[in-house]
């Protein structure tokens, strides 16, 4: 038995251990703490990539916590899994890779970005807890465990959003996020209780295996969808997003993006793998599509008028979530119809999932560049910035790449995923792809505004002292830049290796169930 079978557990255990040792490492001094922060994040990213490789080569990985064997999901005489199971299919592994790369970049960025503040031992611990929560959410195969990891991630993120506790706005943002998010989490718990009461199981595969759509299941489905859509910032439940993303330190915002993607993962895991074909009517797919279109349009139109740079970007993240909801919602619409699935549904899902990784990378990078601007110029207000391209060439370069990617300018990766979404949604209703196109134009418009006001224009006397940011921050940003350029240069490779297995795993409900329940379908 090679150690590779323990990878699913290790991906969660390593950042957890990192969180618990972080206070000890901080006692050894600044260098030890930074080294620990970056080293553990890098190790987590490495383990995630290994896990992803393993899943691609040898199929869905099962890990049973505390059992006599790692794959003993059904102990003798049991027809249902009784232990906590980690179930990692290609989609989960893909999400883990995306999230842990974002976490690594954020950690690298934070080493320099946070150095002027106190309480960094707690920062490191909370950062790792947030990473753990995110990775746990995407790797777990157990509904209640999903809730627990969601709450770990939430509580850690409340703490991190309010990290600058001398700023009233930070506390306010954290409080609002907390109230909305806790109620959402309780809705998830109630939905889990409904499913548990019906099927006596909390394992996703077992529930999916036994599921017959009734009233309790429908209400549980609605609760899960609404709460998870809220957690990833869908209009009209998005109001906490701009607040929290703006007030969190930039490295944390980069990770919060990944956490919102983990919630999106949960949403689609519920829709595709648990409910799947038994979803019945087209109400739920259309709800997701309509929420997606609303998010795209309202998010971007709010972003155009913002004048605080991080708030503008946060509204963009609302609008980008809409693309993924649109793509995967169209996939969900086509799920019960093999012909439609082959015609446009699968393309839409590929577009949605590819947009997911693109979005995490360039949005994380954009928030990091905004953090770099804040660090160097001391202001987030676009009215106060100007002419920074002269003094901060590297940051400018990376900002341009990220902005071009988010606006979907060819040949950047954002263009590829958006093109897939346009092509497929056009087949459902042309108006959907027209809305997506308009959103893309407005996105470009608002980033032109940011670029023009912050980086171009005459140098300002107030900003004469601004220097390029320290190397740690540049390194953190360049990690994401390299990933974006890689995705840009090799879209065919990433579509066939990264995205397609994930999309196939998401569609394949029977495979997800049989990985745990065995041949007992």
């Amino acid at each position: 038995m090679s150690w590779h079978v323990h990878l699913p557990a290790l991906v969660i255990a390593v950042p957890l251990l990192g969180a618990f040792i972080a206070p000890v490492a901080s006692m050894l001094g600044k260098v030890a703490r930074n080294f620990w922060l970056v080293g553990v994040s890098a190790l987590t990213a490495l383990l995630s990539v290994l896990l992803w490789q393993q899943v691609l080569t040898s199929g869905t990985a099962i890990y049973v916590m505390g059992a006599e064997a790692f794959n003993l999901s059904l102990p003798s005489g049991m027809s249902l899994p009784i232990r906590i199971i980690l179930e990692v299919d290609a989609f989960s592994a893909f999400m883990a890779v995306v999230g842990s790369i974002a976490a690594f970049a954020g950690a690298l960025f934070s080493t320099n970005y946070m150095e002027r503040f106190s309480g960094l031992d707690k920062f490191a611990a909370l950062y790792f807890l947030l990473t753990t929560g995110m990775l746990g959410m995407v790797l777990t195969g157990d509904l209640f465990n999903f809730f627990v990891f969601l709450e770990i991630a939430s509580v850690a993120s409340f703490g991190l959003v309010a990290f600058w506790r001398d700023r009233p706005e930070a506390i306010e943002a954290s409080f609002k996020y907390m109230v909305v998010s806790t109620i959402g989490a309780m809705m998830i718990l109630i939905a889990i209780a409904f499913l548990y009461g019906r099927y006596n199981a909390v394992s996703m595969a077992a529930v999916a295996n036994a599921l017959r759509l009734g009233y309790a299941e429908k209400i549980a489905l609605v609760f899960l969808i609404i709460a998870l859509a809220m957690k990833c910032g869908t209009v009209p439940m998005h109001m906490w997003t701009p607040d929290a993303y703006t007030e969190a330190p930039a490295g944390v915002t980069c990770l919060l993006i990944a956490v919102s993607q983990a919630s999106l993962y949960g949403l689609f895991r519920v829709c595709f793998s648990i409910y799947g074909a038994s979803l019945g009517s087209a109400v739920v797919p259309w709800t997701i599509i309509i929420l997606g279109v609303l998010s795209m349009f309202i998010g971007v139109s709010m972003a155009v008028v913002q004048k605080e740079i991080k708030r503008l970007m946060a509204y963009h993240s609302v609008s980008q979530i809409g693309y993924m909801l649109l793509g995967l919602g169209v996939g969900l619409l086509a799920l019960s119809d093999p012909q439609a699935m082959a015609d446009y549904g699968f393309t839409a899902m590929k577009g949605g999932i590819y947009h997911l990784i693109n979005y995490t990378m360039y949005k994380g990078l954009l928030f990091l560049t905004a953090g770099a601007l804040y660090y160097a110029a001391g202001s987030r207000n676009l009215n106060d910035l100007g002419g920074l391209a002269r003094t901060m060439p590297y940051t400018t370069f990376m900002f341009v790449i990220a902005a071009a990617a988010i606006a979907g300018l060819p040949p950047f990766n954002g263009f590829v995923s958006k093109l897939l979404i346009y092509e497929s949604t056009f087949a459902v209703y042309p108006i959907l792809s027209i809305m997506a196109l308009v959103t893309s134009v407005l996105t470009l418009a608002s980033f032109v505004k940011v670029f023009q006001t912050a980086f171009l224009g005459p140098a300002k006397a107030k900003l004469a002292q601004v220097k390029e940011v320290p190397p740690g921050m540049l390194l953190g940003m360049s990690v994401l830049t390299i990933v974006i350029i890689g995705l840009t240069l090799f879209p065919t490779w990433s579509l066939s290796n990264l995205v397609e297995p994930a999309a196939k795993a998401l569609v394949n409900q029977a495979g997800y169930i049989s990985a745990v329940i065995g041949g007992g379908l």
């Binding site: 609002k176 907390m178 309780m186 701009p242």
Partner: protein, 115 residues
């Protein structure tokens, strides 16, 4: 009918909590509302695991009875309670900080972030 009474109680507590969160303007009352919703979710889990006439689900203490209460929901509830405790503590701390910064507990005055 009487067996469904606990579910009714769960619903009432949930709606009370929701009312507090939706319509109360005092931060502490909002926190109480959130705690009420947590309590209702926990109560729902416990009620789901109850079997009429069941004994406690501890093997060595149960004695000679045929039925036990389901232990899994209780374990889930304990976890949810722990999480709820963390959330409540953090929420109250944030309220303290908010009061320190804004000098008020009225939610209508704590809205610097908007638009």
């Amino acid at each position: 009918m009487i067996g469904n009474l606990p579910y009714l109680v769960v619903g009432i507590i949930f709606l009370l909590g929701l009312y507090a969160v939706l319509f109360e303007k005092n931060l502490i009352k909002i926190a109480i509302g959130v705690s009420l919703i947590e309590a209702s979710a926990n109560l729902l889990l416990i009620v789901l695991g109850y079997r009429t006439g069941g004994s406690i689900p501890v093997f060595t203490l149960a004695g000679k009875v045929g039925k036990m209460v389901l232990p899994v929901p209780q374990a889930l509830t304990l976890t949810a309670i722990v999480i709820g405790l963390a959330t409540s503590a953090l929420m109250l701390s944030l309220i303290m900080m908010l009061y320190k910064h804004y000098g008020t507990l009225d939610v209508r005055e704590i809205r610097r972030l908007r638009g």
